[in-house]
Assembly symmetry: C2
Homo-oligomer: 217 residues x 2
Amino acid sequence: MRDAFHDELDSIGQTLIEMGNLVSTAVQLATTALLTADLKLAEQVISNDLRIDTMQHELDAKTLTLLARQQPVAGDLRTLITSLRMSADLERMGDLAHHIAKVARMRYPSAAVPAELVMTVQEMGDVLTRIIQKTTHVIETHDLESAVQLEKDDDEMDKLHRKLFLILLDDAWPHGIETAIDMTLLGRYYERCADHAVSVCRRVYFLVTGEYASEQA
Amino acid sequence: MRDAFHDELDSIGQTLIEMGNLVSTAVQLATTALLTADLKLAEQVISNDLRIDTMQHELDAKTLTLLARQQPVAGDLRTLITSLRMSADLERMGDLAHHIAKVARMRYPSAAVPAELVMTVQEMGDVLTRIIQKTTHVIETHDLESAVQLEKDDDEMDKLHRKLFLILLDDAWPHGIETAIDMTLLGRYYERCADHAVSVCRRVYFLVTGEYASEQA
């Protein structure tokens, strides 16, 4: 019976890794859809989000069943509770990729991102994709060094986010209010998605060490 | 032993209600700080958020201890897991009130919200405060009718959010990009805070019925 239980725990871990991979792909594709005004790609990200949502629902149902039936203690209990929280973060990250794709769809056939900001948004997409791939690695390996390093990657995202605002606020900004609104929201989606990845890594840190990672690390 | 356990469950419920009350006050004060450029009030909301964060940490620690020691099943297990999730929503709602107050502080001594939008933002604040008060009532009473009705209040918030964008996008908008960015972010904070309240009410619905509330309700 205990072996079957640990098989279930492994399969929950596998689902979290799979969710991480789906979210990372979603962010990459959404960024491309946004920067190339690719409607088909945007639609693909939007419809794929349902799959991530479904995985979360199934994973949570399975986790609750295990909690009720197996009454796990100590490490196993902590693993299950942490899984519930990580799946919520990953699901929300999928939503944010979905929001990015929706901006691409809303502005099609125009490109939502003006030339002045293409490079910054591409960098935000690249940094975020790297952050999510690292996060998935942290879920898989419990590598605490990477978990702590991720805070630095998030600092890079915050820098890009500030750069985006500086470009918007330049007196020479020629694109008007609608584009400024789009870019403000897009900036927020990338930044929040990275925050959730940091949160997943902190949860892994807590899971392994029983302590909270220092936010200064 | 079981009685002590149920006392603990009650005290967790009380903490959630207290968090709901604190968040409702935070949103009300943050909105006033924003609309009257009241720096002292803004600072008060910002420093009070720490209290909400601490309550969440303590509540989660207590919940995890109860899960480990009491190995609850069925309804009690569901109550504890739902409490963990509701406390995360409430903590995030506190963060969003804190973000609103930070915009007020950043623009002080100017008012962050231009005259054209004062009424809309006041309405968003009023609707959100009502939503959070109802949510606290739902946590306290498990009143499912109110839980379902809250989706309608959230529709009202979405309407106000759209109205805000229409005003920003009016050709006659005289306030430039910086104010448009502020208003876009503020709109998002109010709207997301209401979303989390809806999420809390859905969790109560699930807790009581074991079923998900229809989103059409």
